[in-house]
């Protein structure tokens, strides 16, 4: 029997968006490595802007995991974007 190396399970990157009736939008970014979630968020905003969905104001609030990312490797990450339409 062939000795197979164990591959660590890696959850798929996911972006979960909830659009409220009043136009408020919440986007959760999960299972990204390092700064990849920031790049995905930026790309999403750029593409949304081309379709006319424009973010006029944005505040940036790091979660505790953000500080942990600088000290050790983060396997599972989460990011949340929230804005109103």
């Amino acid at each position: 029997m062939e000795n197979e190396a164990m591959q660590p399970f890696e959850a798929a990157q996911s972006i979960q968006v909830v659009v409220e009736e009043n136009g408020q939008v919440r986007a959760d970014f999960s299972h990204f490595h390092g700064e990849a979630c920031l790049l995905a968020g930026k790309q999403m905003q750029t593409l949304l802007a081309r379709l006319g969905v424009q973010i006029d104001q944005t505040t940036f609030t790091p979660k505790p995991e953000l500080f942990a990312a600088g000290q050790q490797e983060v396997v599972q990450t989460q990011e949340t974007e929230q804005y109103d339409v």
């Binding site: 972006i15 949304l48 940036f60 979660k63 949340t80 109103d84």
Partner: protein, 160 residues
């Protein structure tokens, strides 16, 4: 990495400004096709239809420069004021590209008109997110629960 971003967004169609300012049709442009899909969803929900114009109280037709206006007839199962019998035009400001709603709301419940506007924006925002996530090579599924629209995009690390 984790963080929270909060902000205000608005529907502003900058990419359509050159066409709008040249008084050319924008109806075949991607954002307008998406806007039409959003409007169709709302029209279906309220038993209405889409026309390219809205009406004044005297019955004069005013074309919407998006080519889209939502008309909701009076329904027997709803109060008479919860209808848009003269339609509500989706008009793009030719200076800023911002989406505006134009209607003669005499006899119309103002809060109903506001709800319809919000619903159009909600549907459009959701459709735009779906389109963008697909463009980013995510597998997308959607679900509507009560007044919320849930969109889930997933992409395996192997696909990156």
């Amino acid at each position: 990495m984790s963080h929270i971003e909060e902000g205000k967004t608005s529907l502003v169609f900058h990419t359509l400004l050159p066409l709008l300012q040249a008084a050319q049709s924008v109806e075949t442009q991607a954002p307008i096709r998406l806007l039409q899909q959003a409007l169709l969803l709302v029209a279906k929900e309220y038993g209405g239809e889409i026309r390219p114009y809205y009406l004044t109280y005297s019955g004069r037709e005013i074309p919407a420069n998006s080519g889209l206006a939502l008309h909701l007839p009076v329904q027997q199962d709803r109060p008479q004021a919860e209808a848009l019998p003269r339609g509500m035009g989706l008009v793009l400001d030719t200076q800023s590209g911002a989406l505006t709603f134009r209607a003669d709301l005499w006899g119309v419940d103002a809060s109903f008109a506001q709800t319809v506007q919000q619903r159009i924006i909600q549907r459009y925002t959701a459709l735009a997110h779906v389109a963008v996530l697909r463009q980013m090579h995510y597998s997308v599924s959607t679900q509507v629960q009560e007044d919320r629209i849930y969109i889930n995009g997933e992409r395996s690390h192997a696909a990156i």
